[in-house]
Symmetry: C2
Subunit: 383 residues, 2 copies
C-alpha cells in the first residue's frame, strides 16, 4: 500500500474518533499496513507500566488471585477509597473513586450549573461534556506567552464575565505549562465565593518546582479539606502507566461525594483496578514507583535537551511528560504527523483539532530513553 | 472466636454495606475468623467464569497481550459496541456499553423524569438511584401469587396512578419469577404512550420457556428498534460469571445513546472487559459458552428438586439461577443466614432488607453441582 492510501485510511480513521486521536489498537486493527514502533501520542510513564505488570504477575496472576478478581464483584467505591485515603492522608469521605478520570469529570460537571471558564487549548472532555445547564466560556491562553495561564488576568476575566465555575489544569495538556502550587493556593483563597474551582492534577507527578534537583512535586490534594469549593481531579493513567485499567479519583467535599454515591458509582472500579488501588496504599510499592518516576523525569529532561536542538520547530517549555511542538518549517501538523507515522512508524498527536492553538502543532510524549532517541531521529529526518 | 462474636462482627459489616450484602472479599478481609466455602449470595454461572478464564490465560496472559491491555487506553464506547451489535444483530448505534449494568441503570434514570413504577421486591439500584426529578412508585407483588408480576393488574395500576415510566425485570431478582416474552411484547405494544419501559434482562440466559426441553431463552433484545420507548438493561456478570470485569450494556433508541455519549462514557470499559466483548462477538466462544450455560441450568434444576424436599422452608419457583426461600420453621432470615455462614461456611443472601417481602426470606444462588450439594446439606442440618 502506498503512502497516499495509508494517509487516506488514517485520516478517515481519525475522522471517526471525535475529539480524541484513534488509539494504537484501532490503528493496528483498522490499518494493518501501518506499523507503529513508538506511540508518542499516549502520555504515560512506560517504566511505571512495567512495575505494575511485575506486581500483577507476581501477586495476582501467578497466585491465581486473578480468578476471584474477575469472577466476583469488586468492593464498593467507599471501600476502594481507603488506600487512597491512607496515602493522601485525607478522610475517605472526601474521595470518589472513578472508572478513569473522565468519569470523575463527568460527575463534577453534572453537579455544576451556570458558567464554566475553560482556558484553551486544553483537554477536550471539559468542554465536550458540559450539559445544557452549564455553559463553557473559553479563555484564550496567549501564544506569545507560550500559552501559560496568567492567574491575575484569569481572575480579572472571571470577575468581569461573572463566572461561577473555574477550571485549572496543572500542568496543562497539551501545553505542559505549570503554575506553582503557592500561586494556585493564593488563587483559591481569593476565590472562595465561586461555586467551584476544578483543579486537574492528572500530570502533577511529572512536575517539580525545585529545578529538578530532587524532583519533588507539589500536589495540593492533601489540603482538600481547607477549600470548600475545590474539586481535584486525578487520573492514574499517566503517572502509573495503566490507562487500560481505568483508575482515577476526584477529591471534594464529603457531601458532594455522598451526592454522587446516592446516584450510582457503586461497583464502578473493576477487580484489577481495585488491586492497583491496594498498591497505591502500599508504601513498598510507592517507594519502588518513586524510582521509576524519577528515572522517567530524567529521561524526559534529556529528551527536551535533544529536541531543542532541532531546527524548524519550537519546543514549548513543559513540566509534564510531553512537549507541545510548533512547526515552523512551513509543514502542516497533519503532514508531519503522517510522515512520522507512515515513514518512521512514530505516532504523535496532531493538534489541529485543538481549539485555542494558533499555528501548526503536534504533541510528542516522552517514552523510554531508546524510544525518545527513535522519535528524535525520525523528527530530524522529517523536518 | 465464638459464635456470638462472629455474629456481631458480621452484623456490623452488613450494616456498613448499605442495601447490598458485603461481598466475599470484604468478609474474608474484615472477619478472617469466618471461612466461606460456598458463596451462594453471588448470582453467577461458575462454569462460565472458568471458560472465560481459560480464554484469558491462553489468548491474553500467555501471549503478553495483557501488557498492552493494561498499559494503553481501551477503545472508545462506540468501538466496543461492534461485537455486541454483531451477536445481537442490531445496529451499534442502539448500544451503550456500560461499566457494569449499574452504570447503565444510572444512565437511564438520569434521562427520565416523572414517576417510575417499580414492582417490589426487586433489585435495589432502581429505587436507590432515582434522582429528585424521578419519583419511585412502589407496586407490591402479591405474596399469595409467589410475587409473580401480573401484567394486566400492573397495566391497571399504571393507568390509575398516571405513571409515565415503567420497570420490568425479567426474570426478577430476588424472586426468580418470569414472564413469557410474548406477554412482555403485548404489554409493550399496549404502552407505546409511556415515556419509557425499562426491561432488565440481566438473568434472561437462565430462563427458558420450553419446559427446559432444549433450554432456549427468549430475549427481545434483537427487537429494540421495534419499540421507541424501551430501554433494555443487560448485565454480563451473571450469565458469563465475570462480575469483576464490569461488563454490561443498555439497548435504546439511537438518539438516547448519542445523548449519553455526549455527556461522557468515552473510555468506560477497561481493557480486559474489552477483550470479553470481543469474545461476545466470537461464534466459537459463544458455542462453547452455550454448553456451560446448559450444564449450569441442568444443575440448577437438580438443585431445585433437592431443595424442594426440605421441610421447614418453601422454595419459590424460579426461572433464574437462584431461589427465593421462605423460612417456615420459626427461624428468622438473619438467624438462618448466620448459622449457615458461621457453622457451615455457606454464604446466602439474607433478604431482610428487601422492601416488598412479607415473611422471612433468604436467597440462595445455584453454584456448581458439588457446591449445591454442600448448600443442601448445610440447610438440612440448619433447619
Amino acid at each position: 500500500m502506498d503512502y497516499n492510501s495509508k494517509k487516506k485510511k488514517f485520516i478517515s480513521l481519525k475522522g471517526n474518533s471525535g475529539l480524541h486521536s484513534p488509539n494504537i489498537h484501532s490503528i493496528i486493527k483498522e490499518i494493518p499496513e501501518i506499523k507503529v514502533d513508538v506511540d508518542a501520542c499516549y502520555l504515560s510513564n512506560p517504566y511505571a507500566t512495567e512495575l505494575f505488570l511485575d506486581y500483577l504477575k507476581r501477586d495476582i496472576i501467578n497466585t491465581g488471585r486473578i480468578n476471584d478478581m474477575i469472577g466476583y464483584y469488586p468492593s464498593p467505591n467507599t471501600e476502594i477509597a481507603k488506600p487512597i485515603s491512607k496515602t493522601l492522608n485525607i478522610p475517605s469521605s472526601n474521595i470518589l473513586v472513578c472508572n478513569g478520570a473522565v468519569e470523575g469529570i463527568q460527575a463534577i460537571l453534572n453537579m455544576l450549573t451556570g458558567k464554566l471558564v475553560i482556558p484553551i487549548p486544553t483537554f477536550s472532555s471539559y468542554y465536550e461534556y458540559c450539559h445544557n445547564m452549564l455553559e463553557p466560556i473559553y479563555y484564550n491562553l496567549a501564544k506569545e506567552r507560550d500559552y501559560v495561564l496568567d492567574l491575575e488576568e484569569y481572575a480579572k476575566f472571571i470577575h468581569d464575565k461573572n463566572i461561577n465555575n473555574v477550571l485549572i489544569i496543572n500542568p496543562n495538556n497539551p501545553t505542559g505549562s505549570y503554575i506553582n502550587s503557592s500561586d494556585i493556593i493564593t488563587f483559591i483563597e481569593e476565590h472562595k465565593h465561586l461555586d467551584s474551582i476544578i483543579l486537574d492534577e492528572s500530570f502533577i507527578h511529572f512536575a517539580s518546582e525545585d529545578g529538578n534537583s530532587n524532583m519533588q512535586f507539589n500536589s495540593i490534594q492533601g489540603r482538600i479539606n481547607d477549600f470548600d469549593n475545590v474539586f481535584i481531579v486525578k487520573s492514574m493513567a499517566k503517572d502509573f502507566g495503566i490507562a487500560g485499567l481505568r483508575c482515577g479519583y476526584v477529591l471534594m467535599r464529603a457531601d458532594h461525594v455522598r451526592t454522587c454515591l446516592s446516584e450510582g458509582f457503586l461497583w464502578n472500579v473493576n477487580g484489577i483496578a481495585e488491586y492497583f488501588f491496594e498498591l497505591y496504599g502500599d508504601k513498598k510499592f510507592l517507594l519502588e514507583y518513586e524510582n521509576h518516576r524519577k528515572k522517567y523525569i530524567a529521561d524526559t529532561l534529556s529528551f527536551y535537551t535533544m529536541l531543542k536542538e532541532l531546527a524548524g520547530i519550537k519546543i514549548l517549555p513543559s513540566n509534564a511528560n510531553f512537549f507541545l511542538v510548533e512547526i515552523l518549517n512551513g509543514s502542516t501538523s497533519e503532514d508531519l504527523t503522517l510522515k512520522l507515522l507512515i515513514e518512521h512508524n512514530i505516532y504523535v498527536r496532531d493538534c489541529n483539532d485543538k481549539i485555542g492553538l494558533q499555528g501548526e502543532y503536534v504533541r510528542i510524549a516522552s517514552r523510554t530513553e531508546r524510544e525518545n532517541k527513535m522519535i528524535y531521529e525520525a523528527l530530524e529526518n522529517s523536518l
